[in-house]
């Protein structure tokens, strides 16, 4: 065999080997791809198809075109209420979550004795299921014997009907939601804070900057991408709120319409009224709103980063 033949055989072997590897790779990925297709792409496509139908599970689906979307935007006053409540809930959850998480992560980032104990305690709510959490908070919000009202009583504030009065129900819901969201946000922000170089702080200290100034002028700008990520994820979670509301204030998002958010509206139309077409249309509207918000947020983030780079240059 000539050297040319040998090298050709080697190339063929390598090709065969790489083909085999590629086939093996496809085989390994196939189950995951199948799962994505069955459990994500198919439901997505099916819900888009259903949003153009009138379907109650029992009778044959009937094509209604964009009628579900038209009645959602044109003739359903509850959609406006649900959208308003969802926006209030999202703002009432995301803003305090970011502020509290920044503060908590800032504290946990310090090198002090026993910090690991505090970190564990702060992350505990992450391990608790939303339903269990909501049940526990129901006890906390009990008007006459709840822990929160007892504590408020110590400072002279009378019992507040947290879950009974529509004026207070949304605040109560936001409180629980913030309590649930803070650990996750803290984990992300803390990880980002630990990546900030120490020499920047040393330089700032030499220039006479205090702790607060260092935090505002060094830490926060340098973890901006992590904050953006947390904001996007928190908005998505808040917009999809369902389990917490369902357990805490009931399947109709009461009292009255105080906690009637889009997630509850979707569930109610699908499983109580058996209007799966309408519920699917609502799901796609929610998806569209979230998509627009996320894209806007990312674009704003990129523009801000570009401006900062330019100003440094």
């Amino acid at each position: 065999m000539t050297p040319i033949d040998e090298s050709a055989a080697a190339v063929t072997r390598r090709r065969r080997f790489s083909k085999g590897r590629a086939r093996a790779g496809r085989m390994f990925v196939a189950p995951n791809m199948a799962a994505v297709a069955v459990f994500m792409l198919f439901p997505l496509g099916f819900s888009l198809y259903m949003s153009l139908q009138k379907w109650d599970l029992f009778r044959l689906a009937k094509f209604v075109g964009l009628a579900n979307y038209r009645s959602l935007f044109g003739g359903d006053p509850l959609f406006v209420i649900a959208l308003r409540n969802t926006v209030v809930y999202t703002v009432g959850t995301v803003v305090p979550t970011i502020l509290i998480s920044l503060a908590v992560a800032g504290v946990l980032n310090r090198k002090i004795k026993g910090i690991s104990i505090f970190r564990t305690v702060i992350f505990l709510p992450l391990a608790v299921s939303s339903v269990v959490m909501a049940v526990v908070w129901q006890f906390v919000f009990n008007t006459n014997n709840g822990l929160l009202n007892i504590m408020l009583g110590w400072i002279g504030i009378g019992p507040i009907p947290w879950l009974v009065d529509p004026k207070w129900a949304m605040s109560a819901l936001c409180m629980v939601s913030v309590w649930r969201s803070v650990p996750f946000a803290t984990v992300i922000l803390l990880a980002a804070m630990q990546g900030v170089p120490d020499n920047l702080y040393e330089a700032a200290r030499l220039d006479g900057a205090g702790e607060l100034r260092q935090f505002v002028s060094i830490t926060v700008p340098l973890i901006r991408s992590a904050v953006s990520f947390v904001v996007v994820i928190s908005i998505i979670h808040a917009f999809q709120a369902f389990d917490l509301v369902y357990v805490l204030t009931g399947r109709n998002g009461g009292p009255e319409t105080a906690t009637y958010v889009l997630g509850i509206m979707l569930f109610q139309h699908a499983f109580a009224f058996l209007e799966f077409g309408y519920a699917s249309a609502l799901a796609w509207v929610m998806f569209a709103i979230l998509l627009v918000l996320t894209v806007l947020q990312l674009r704003l983030g990129r523009r801000r980063a570009a401006l900062e780079e330019r100003s440094w240059a």
């Binding site: 009990n142 008007t143 009065d165 009292p255 009255e256 058996l274």
Partner: protein, 463 residues
Amino acid sequence: MTTPRNATKEPTLTSRRYATKNSLICDKSISRRTLLRGAGALGAASLALWPTGCGSDDDALTFFFAANPEEADARLRVVDAFQRRHPDIKVRALLSGPDPLQHMSIYCAGGKCPDVLMAWDLTYAGLAQRGVLMDLNTLLAHDKAFAAELRTNSISPLYETFTFDGGQYAFPEQWSGNFLFYNKQLFDDAGVRPPPGRWEQPWSFSEFLDTAKALTKRGRSGRVSQWGYVDSWVASYSAGLFGMNNGVPWSTPRMNPTHFNFDNDVFLEGVQFYADLANKHKVAPTASETQSMSTMDLFSSGRAAMAQGGHWRYQTVDRAKGLDFDITVLPTGPKGRAARSNIGTTGLAIAASSRRKQQAWEFVKFATGPVGQEVIGETGLFVPALRSAIESAGFAKAHSRIGNLAVLTGGPAHSEGMPITPEWTKVVALMDRNIGSVLRGSRPATSLAGGLSHAVDEVLRNQ
């Protein structure tokens, strides 16, 4: 904790596999291939078994119902009694989850609709309209003997509850209307005359209020230590029940209505009276005050003199230690004609898609017929829906602690129905949203005439 006897003697799979480096490599390549083959075989086997795994494991008649554990036992006694008489028909019970309508819908949508379904008076119409339930008249027409039995033995308000759009979609199997439990000891202690013991002897709203006031006690701090009246039912439904007892039905007409009477002044007077019990007269706890203790616990522990509820609360009350209780009728408003309970009933229906219609028919006939109803009555867990069973010695024996048994036995015949509409779930959601503020006392009942009434009528118009 015990250790398996040979655990220390037998070399483990791991220790054998990792004995030497060479054998590790050899074993590893073989084991990976073997593993992949095994996984493939397992996958193929599971796919092959899929159709059989999802299919029914036998040809049994499926019976879907919702019940707490005790009630489930009672229903299984009916199933056992049926199987003794019909050994050739096997019955498989399917117990519902917390939301029966949802559970049932998922079964039916998946093509596995149970053969016999429990039907609720307020929600069956939606299923009937969608063609899920079979019109039992088609089977009844071929069974003259049972039809005659039903004509003479059934209680028409209950039977007619399941007559919708000209079809009979279920036969009633129990009555679960509302009445009042009262604590005899607390009445005696306060020197208050016991309330009436029959539906034919009504007591007025004002008599009821005076009684509730006399039985409400406050401590030195002003905090209530004993309530005159508590409600263990759904507050918005109870409000409507008081409206109905003021002489105006919930809707016009009752079956497939086009209008709810939330704009009727007389109906709303009854609703307002109910709301005032907690907000104005302070003889009933508010929603905040029942957050830490259920109303039935308040009654069972002697901290409430009267409790509104249905027979489903009987076991709780019966088991309460040292509680001397009886039952009485609901009060009648100044414009009411007679004391009325709500019909509140469940029935048994047959799925239109059932492949075992004849067996299902035999089961429904048995469970809603004289024998099954007598078994139901003897359990003490339900009020049967046939006259013969309500008046049977077994039913009386199961309720020996109740002095005013006529409240139970006469209940079904003195009931007025709540509206039967396929849109009930939407109406309930609207009621939930609008009545809350009236029940909290932040708006008068007359405010319902504007918002709720129009909203409900619109839902009914668009169905």
